[in-house]
């Protein structure tokens, strides 16, 4: 049986300046306990790849408020006025990526692909500095893969081999980010014995998960 770690141990593994993928959509499906531990550790200079920066006091919003984040690669910051303020003040660098493109760049990073071709963003600010490639007479933007040092996940169930399931719209970027980082750390709502999750229901195989947080007390 594999051993779990505490949230503080997880946060201690993540050095300042690390590049993180953090799952979640306005904090739904975000690993709040790992985030809290990073804030408590006083992490600095993090690059965060995520869908959004949630809201103040919630999910990635807590990292932004605590000054842990130097750079964010996200699709949306409209729900977090603190992110917008820090961006305008030059305290936080924000790279905006169309949401579907972000998902595919993370997927490409985890799938060993050299990038994806998408029509999304053609003729817009999202196309700046990017190569346009024509395929069968139609133009596409070349979008490059994204990878990270750590992926921080939120699962519904984890079994003792760290096989993971996700629930409803808390799924979002979790299974994609599980593939695209050197070290994958997950927290789960429930921890269950091996066999409780049938093979067909496993969304992220435990072999891909490096560390699991101990159950919440």
């Amino acid at each position: 049986m594999r051993r779990s770690i505490s949230a503080a141990e997880a946060a201690a593994m993540i050095p300042d300046g690390a590049r993180l993928m953090i799952a979640g959509f306005v904090a739904v499906g975000s690993p709040e306990r790992i985030i809290d531990a990073l804030v408590a550790r006083g992490a600095r200079d993090l690059t965060v790849i995520a869908n959004d920066t949630a809201r103040p006091g919630l999910g990635i919003g807590k990292l932004v408020e605590a000054g842990c984040v130097a750079r964010a690669i996200v699709s949306h910051i409209g729900t977090n006025p603190v992110t917008q303020k820090k961006m305008l003040a030059g305290e936080l660098e924000v790279e905006l990526v169309p949401q579907g493109t972000l998902a595919e760049r993370v997927r490409a990073g985890g799938a060993g692909l050299g990038g994806v071709l998408t029509p999304t963003g053609l003729g817009t600010l999202a196309a700046e500095g990017k190569q346009v490639i024509e395929v069968e007479g139609r133009p596409y933007l070349l979008e490059t893969p994204l990878r990270a040092d750590f992926a921080l996940l939120h699962a519904q169930e984890a079994d003792h081999e760290f096989n993971l399931t996700y629930r409803l719209t808390a799924t979002n970027f979790n299974p994609l980010m599980a593939m695209a980082a050197e070290c994958v750390i997950a927290e789960a709502v429930e921890t269950v014995p091996v066999g409780v999750i049938p093979p067909d229901a496993v969304r992220t195989p435990g072999l891909l998960v490096d560390h699991l947080l101990e159950r919440a007390h």
């Binding site: 959509f25 306005v26 904090a27 739904v28 499906g29 869908n51 959004d52 809201r55 996200v74 699709s75 949306h76 910051i77 409209g78 729900t79 917008q84 961006m87 905006l96 169309p98 949401q99 579907g100 493109t101 972000l102 998902a103 595919e104 997927r107 998408t118 029509p119 999304t120 963003g121 053609l122 003729g123 817009t124 600010l125 999202a126 519904q156 996700y166 629930r167 409803l168 719209t169 808390a170 799924t171 979002n172 970027f173 979790n174 299974p175 994609l176």
Partner: protein, 224 residues
């Protein structure tokens, strides 16, 4: 009936049976209240569900079941959830029949700007660029003017969301169809004369011989 409800009711008449539809945040969300009786429409939320339903009663919310704005939703029979790559494959891959989105500007070429005002408002594009690029039909539901200025302009002054020509623009004054030749005035709001629409629109309009009033009820029926 206020202007927002009128726009939502007219947009709801664009819904078709057994289709997959994505509604943007704000005014477009109201469209779900006016689904014509008897139609089965599956609404998608880009954070990873199709077939979602209204917010459950207080105390019955599931923290793992929300819409793209983070609000609680429910799931209709037949609903399916999926990850973000699948969600945008549906949007980009031609599986999404229609999207209804808000707008800041639409220009004479039918291009939409709805994701930023440089120097003032930079929320990010979220899923908007994928939706406008990929949905089979793109309906823009917005007020005709903001602070007295027409939002339908000869050429966008705001950054475009996509190069794609949108399918239909529904405002509190008119229904306008962007065509390769320009903006075609299709319908006028009840009691609004064509001349008033021309006067309130900064972009040139193509005016056909007859411009009927926009239907608002027809087969439609307001749900709860």
């Amino acid at each position: 009936m206020d202007a927002r409800e009128m726009i939502a009711r007219r947009a709801a008449l664009e819904l078709r049976d057994r289709t997959l539809v994505n509604l943007g945040i704000g005014l477009p969300t109201l469209v779900a209240r006016f689904v014509p009786h008897g139609l089965r429409v599956a609404f998608q939320s880009e954070n990873g569900i199709l077939g979602f339903g209204a917010r459950p009663p207080e105390g019955m919310e599931d923290p793992n079941l929300t819409d793209a704005g983070g609000g609680f939703i429910s799931a209709e029979p037949g609903a399916a959830s999926f990850d973000s790559a699948m969600s945008f494959a549906l949007i980009r891959g031609g599986h999404l029949d229609m999207t209804v989105l808000g707008g800041l500007q639409v220009d004479a070429a039918g291009r939409l700007a709805n994701w930023m005002v440089p120097g003032q408002l930079v929320p990010g594009m979220g899923g908007a660029m994928d939706l406008v690029t990929g949905a089979r039909r793109v309906i823009v539901a917005m007020q005709h003017a903001a602070r007295g200025e027409s939002k339908i302009v000869p050429r966008l002054s705001l950054p475009p969301t996509s190069e794609r020509r949108v399918s239909l623009v529904i405002t509190d004054l008119a229904v306008i169809q962007p065509t390769p030749e320009g903006l075609l005035l299709r319908e006028r709001a009840p009691g609004i004369p064509v001349m008033a629409i021309i006067a309130a629109t900064a972009a040139p309009l193509i005016i056909p011989g007859e411009v009927p009033e926009m239907p608002l009820d027809g087969p439609a029926r307001a749900a709860a």
